[in-house]
Amino acid sequence: MTFFEAVLLTIITASTPLVIAAIGELVTERSGVLNLGVEGMVIIGSVSAFVAAQMSGSAYVGLLAGVGGGAIFSLLFSFLTLTLVANQVATGLALTIIGLGASGMIGEAYVGVPGVRLLPLEIPVLSDIPYIGNILFKQDIIFYLSIVLVVAVNWYLFHTRSGLKMRAIGDSHSSAHALGINVIRTRYLAIMFGGACAGLAGAQLSLIYTPQWTENMSGGRGWIALALVVFASWRPWRILAGGYLFGAVTILQLHAQAFGIGIPAQFLSMLPYAATVVVLIIISHNRRATLVNTPASLGKTFVPDR
């Protein structure tokens, strides 16, 4: 394997959790709900996956636990914002705070314990293709899932009746309600999907990216995923582009640190965050273009009138 291939592989590993968490949040936001708790759901996914993998000895059990952990954890958010119509921004922050705290407490006994690594799955035939075979078809299952998810979400949102309804809810929950669409139920499901994806992203972190448990190991990736949704202007394909852009920045700055190019490590570590800000500026400054794509009911609470 060449050095170039190795770098590409690490970029894919770094990008996958961002893509997965972002595609989940995209669905949530398309239904009109802004869930700022992605960071909390990701870290809950990480810790659930790690602990379950330890207890069962199987990384796949860990993967399922990560997905389940994220989905169940997101119910807290749904109950507060949908049933009790609490402020979505504040509740999302609460979800992040409680997720970081609870994961630290659950994972405390596992600090320094070597993790169970999820092994790659080689796809026969395809993995023999020169150059791209090594990079794309000797990956772990979560990478394949990330691509499938993007394709599936795009198909669901823009080519199915149910997806059309979901977008209608996101654009005007009152009109959708008047048409007889069950706003609350759809949103519960959309948030849960977002939670499951965030949990899967977290599982990738603790089973593949760095197979161990460290506190706060999500390192702001949930927040970057939120920014990615804005970057993608709520379109699934662009999540892929954005995710890989951020993954590349993260990995390249790590290589720059290793080479020691004379810039302090801290400044290089700032790059992914700085890139997020710059990208947000570029995407958002065209006010009209942003408004066209933003789900019009995003972040507003909905109380069904009777």
Binding site: L36, L76, L80, T83, L84, V85, A86, N87, V89, A90, T91, L93, A94, I97, I98, G99, L100, G101, A102, G104, M105, E108, G220, W223, L226, A227, V230, P264, Q266, F267, S269, M270, Y273, A274, T276, V277, L280, I281, S284, H285, R287, T290, V303, R306
Partner: protein, 364 residues
């Protein structure tokens, strides 16, 4: 079973007062259940966590030390949140305030004058305010989401603090410790009352700030402007208020207060600038602001409650052998229950057991 909400005719004054207390009670119950799961005696653990610290004079001073920055930051955030500006980067503004305030002790170490301390505090506030001006600028000029930018800037501020204290500002005689030289007495925020109250003046600043902001919100046009623009930007524009100016005002005010909290902590408690100067005050202050129902006077009370969870967590580590991470879980619970209970202020909650919809509305 279904939960239905019915809007009250008027906002309930009673529940405005009861809801934070109810949230506290629910948090205690959730905490008790959590301790049960951890295999500890629930009541004894809660006692050790939240009551025992109150009997120790040292702890009371510690309470004031921790409540100071929490209240100072939360009061600023309350203005932001009421005006519908979501500054969640207070942690970063706190760090940059601490860095700015430390410029004088680092570069003018030998300068001795009564002006040193006030200048340091002023610099701290300016630093925090300037740093908070960045998301304000981005929001007003480029329409970027202030939640994301203020948070990204927080990560960057923490890396900046890490670099500056390990790199250019590091004390060469530090014997392997990272951080600046220890501040001189001139550069140190004194205790409130020599030996009797050893907590530093940061707490007093916090209480003064809370009272001033309370006055502003209640009796001045500016306070009215904050509330109107927070409720409806459109209504505010009709009244001649500028939403853009409000963004600047809310961010710079909250940033300056967070910066002041940062330099006060460094000068009063830590004694020098180092990579780690906050146990997450900037984020916990969000909880403080909400538990205080975004009211500056309420925030004084809620700041004390959250400060208690910090020192209780430290104490419980020794006395009942639970991790100090219990603190963060407790704080998270608290915010959750506060947000849930706030529903009671504007809505009546009814639990409907049957699946059939009520027909009463149709006949009325």
């Amino acid at each position: 079973m279904r939960i239905e909400l019915e809007k009250r005719r008027n906002v309930s004054k009673l529940f405005g007062f009861v809801s934070p207390l109810l949230a506290l009670l629910l948090t205690l119950s959730a905490g008790a259940i959590m301790f049960l799961f951890l295999g500890k005696a629930p009541l004894d653990s809660l006692y050790a966590l939240l009551v025992e610290p109150l009997f120790d004079p040292w702890s009371l001073n510690e309470l004031a030390r921790k409540a100071g920055p929490l209240i100072l930051i939360a009061v600023g955030l309350s203005v932001c949140y009421r005006s519908n500006n979501w500054n969640i980067g207070a942690e970063g503004q706190y760090s940059v305030g601490a860095i700015f305030g430390s410029i004088i002790p680092v570069y003018f170490y030998g300068w001795s004058s009564p002006m040193v301390l006030p200048l340091m505090l002023l610099m701290g506030a300016i630093g925090g305010g300037l740093f908070a001006a960045i998301p304000a600028l981005l929001k007003t000029h480029f329409n970027t989401n202030e939640i994301l930018t203020s948070l990204m800037l927080t990560y960057m501020a923490q890396l900046l603090l890490d670099w500056i204290t390990r790199g250019p500002w590091r004390n060469p005689d530090g014997h392997g410790f990272y951080g600046t030289r220890d501040f001189t007495p001139d550069q140190t925020l004194p205790p409130i009352w020599d030996d009797a109250i050893s907590a530093h003046w940061g707490f007093i600043f916090a209480v003064i700030a809370a009272i001033l902001i309370w006055f502003m919100m209640r009796y001045t046009l500016k306070g009215f402007e904050v509330v109107v623009l927070g409720h409806s930007e459109r209504a505010g524009r009709f009244a001649g208020f500028s939403p853009k100016k409000m963004v600047w005002f809310a961010f710079i005010l909250s940033g300056a207060l967070a910066g002041l909290a940062g330099i006060s902590e460094v000068s009063g408690s830590v004694g020098h600038l180092q990579p780690d100067i906050s146990p997450g005050y900037g984020f916990t202050a969000i909880i403080v602001a909400y538990l205080g129902r975004l009211n500056p006077l309420g925030i004084i009370a809620s700041g004390l409650v959250l400060a208690l969870t910090y020192i209780g967590g430290e104490a419980a580590q020794l006395s009942i052998g639970v991790s100090e991470k219990v603190t963060r879980v407790f704080q998270g619970f608290l915010l959750f229950f506060v947000l849930s209970c706030d529903t009671l202020i504007t809505y009546q909650i009814r639990i409907v057991w049957s699946r059939v919809r009520r027909k009463a509305g149709a006949t009325a």
